[in-house]
Symmetry: none
Subunit: 402 residues, 2 copies
């Protein structure tokens, strides 16, 4: 990647500056009705607004205009990686989220317990969302399955979700999802798109047949579907590319996994923003770059709960002074994508973004919000350029060319 090569040439090794990337997941939104305000525009955010007045704003495009990203590409872009070049399968992401290190011979896949009727047709794609205890029990049954030529790992995640990793020589990941994505159908057969992936598909079909057998008396968790067969992408670490000692402070597994994928250390950050910031304070001297992930702007948006999303933004705003009290050189507040409550899903809309530092060129924006950011000095930009901008503002990049 040209940008990475350039950064390697220009980055300064001796620099003590601190960069905080605060990702409010799904931050961007939409008004509920014509003439209304978005969630962010509706929220009372005095602390963010102070940073906005001193800093520079804009709208980030996570991948390309019109493209709605999942959490993987959305975060990779914010970490300074082109999400079109670096692709991460769902299986690998899920495995990383439970601290399962996917190795070179591994194909990882996300598993879901589901319920099938006597005819084998799916009646509940999430098996009634079992407890974690049941998820663990059921996974231990699946762990008994043996297939010659491969090692199989089955690890619980939570509710109906688990991870399977197939380890063996010559396994490809060009295999379709077995989840038909709707009830009333049988799980799909796995098929491989090439020779190595056909080998994987044969093993997968054996595994699923065995799973059906060992779970036959365990309704509603009496069957499995598999999604997102994927191998570990080889990604250079943020230390290697950007020269940053990086730490992730996330509550949810997937974001820890994403951070691990680019070589971040994952701190034990508890289960709340308050605990995340306490941890941030503790490890402040040990790292250069801190990724703080805040999930609730996304979950409330996915729930279609406009007011809850507004409140989650206001809670975040309330914690901001604790971060600023640590005196970072650069603070970025943005999202990995938009999640408008009105759409109840991720969307393609550009994401309001704030970059605060002592060397940014101020712009006329005085409040944080989608329509205000339109007038911001960062303009509309591809999210993957945010990290180079952060390095520049932190004094971490030398001059390009004589």
């Amino acid at each position: 990647m040209m940008m990475h090569q350039l950064i390697r040439e220009l980055r300064e090794e001796e620099n003590k500056s601190k960069i905080v990337l605060l990702v409010a997941d799904g931050l961007g939104g939409l008004p509920m009705e014509a003439g209304g305000k978005t969630e962010l525009e509706s929220a009372r955010t005095p602390n963010l607004d102070t940073c906005v007045r001193e800093g520079v704003c804009g709208l980030s495009i996570p991948v390309l205009p019109g493209i709605t990203p999942g959490s993987g590409p959305g975060h990779l872009a914010l970490f300074g990686y082109d999400p079109l070049e670096y692709r991460i399968g769902r299986g690998v992401l899920e495995a990383l989220g439970i601290n399962f290190q996917v190795g070179e011979k591994d194909v990882a896949v996300r598993g879901n317990f589901c319920t099938v009727d006597d005819a084998g047709l799916i009646t509940d794609r999430r098996a009634g969302r079992p407890t974690i205890e049941r998820c663990i029990d059921m996974c231990s049954k699946l762990q008994q399955i043996r297939i010659p030529g491969v090692e199989i790992f089955v690890e619980p995640v939570r509710e109906h979700r688990f991870v399977v990793v197939f380890r063996g020589d010559g396994l490809g990941d060009g295999v379709n999802d077995t989840d038909p994505q709707k009830t009333g159908h049988e799980p799909l057969k796995a098929k491989g798109s090439d020779e190595n992936s056909e080998k994987t598909a044969r093993i997968v079909n054996q595994f699923v047949a065995e799973a059906r057998r060992v779970l036959r008396n365990d309704a509603p968790t009496n069957m499995v579907t598999l999604r997102g067969f994927s191998r570990n992408p080889k990604i250079e670490t943020m230390q290697q590319v950007y020269g940053l000692r990086s730490a992730a402070l996330a509550v949810y597994p997937m974001y820890k996994g994403l951070a691990r994928l680019v070589g971040m250390d994952v701190a034990d950050a508890g289960t709340s923003l308050d605990e995340q910031i306490s941890t941030l304070r503790k490890i402040w001297n040990d790292y250069d770059f801190f990724f703080l992930h805040y999930k609730y702007t996304d979950t409330t948006g996915e729930d279609g709960n406009f007011h809850a999303k507004v409140e989650s933004i206001e809670r975040l705003d309330g914690e901001l002074p604790k971060i600023m009290a640590l005196n970072p050189e650069v603070l970025i507040v943005t999202g990995d994508h938009s999640t408008p409550s009105r759409l109840r899903s991720h969307s393609w809309h550009p994401v309001p973004t704030l970059l605060w530092s002592r060397t940014c060129r101020p712009d006329p924006v005085t409040e944080f919000g989608e329509s205000y950011c339109l007038r911001g000095g960062l303009g509309q930009f591809q999210a993957m350029y945010l990290l180079p901008l952060a390095l520049a503002n932190a004094g971490r990049l030398g001059k390009f060319g004589a």
Copy 2:
């Protein structure tokens, strides 16, 4: 380069239009304090503002967001070349600046006279900034050095600066700088990164040892360091790519060199903006494209002298009517990068840019300045697209596709 191929397909050969590119070096700036104005926003610029009202404005990104360019990449972008694709070493740039044509068998390098103590440790990296007369004298001593198998040219620049060109078969330019960049150290040994560059390095080390010997009684100019070993990059000319007969009107050597690199004729433009514009008038009928370089917006910025930078902008504004009187089809006023007085150095901040023509779509901007340009019709754009825009506004580009 895709853009160049496109331009070759679309450009119209019969066109008498005139394009003026006025580069105010380091034009972009920053306010000195929160809520303040930048240098350009502070300057009284009635003539520029008239063009702004009639034209279209925006902010140009010289290389990529966050990347601070040197003069080389900054100008190449303005000349319509991707600065990431076309890289120019310091040695070649310096050689071109003194009208030394670097040939195919040449490796050029920038030399600095420095002062070393009896132990050979550098005490002054610039040898007390000698006069040009002394620089010439010392270079003539270095010109006596002979090394079998290569031809060596040593040419004075000014103060402590000179150029060395090694001419011979199979010389590589993958050689490190011998300047340790700090005092108290010996100059570094040259090492080559490949076989051809090792050959260069051996010759360089012999040259430096000889230089030490011939200068031993000439303190403070009693040693040399070498930076930026480079070969001549093969760059298609602006005539070849853009179909433009181009002339450069610059005072400082480096900018003349950059212009030569893309095939511009370098006019004898004197030593002041007034003389540059007199020359412009004289050669007006002989060319299609005129690159006027104005240095003082950069030097005042590098000096950290906000008020002097404001004055230098106002002086430039005062000369603008003389250019407009020549009735160009297109006038561009921009910088190759920002040089905020507050930072006393080049920076990554986007550069205020004005494009005036009779076919541009006017925007709401009425004054020239960073924050005003944010609302401009050019938006934020990569600087290398400015030249195609100029061609379009000059009626020099046909339609792409049927």
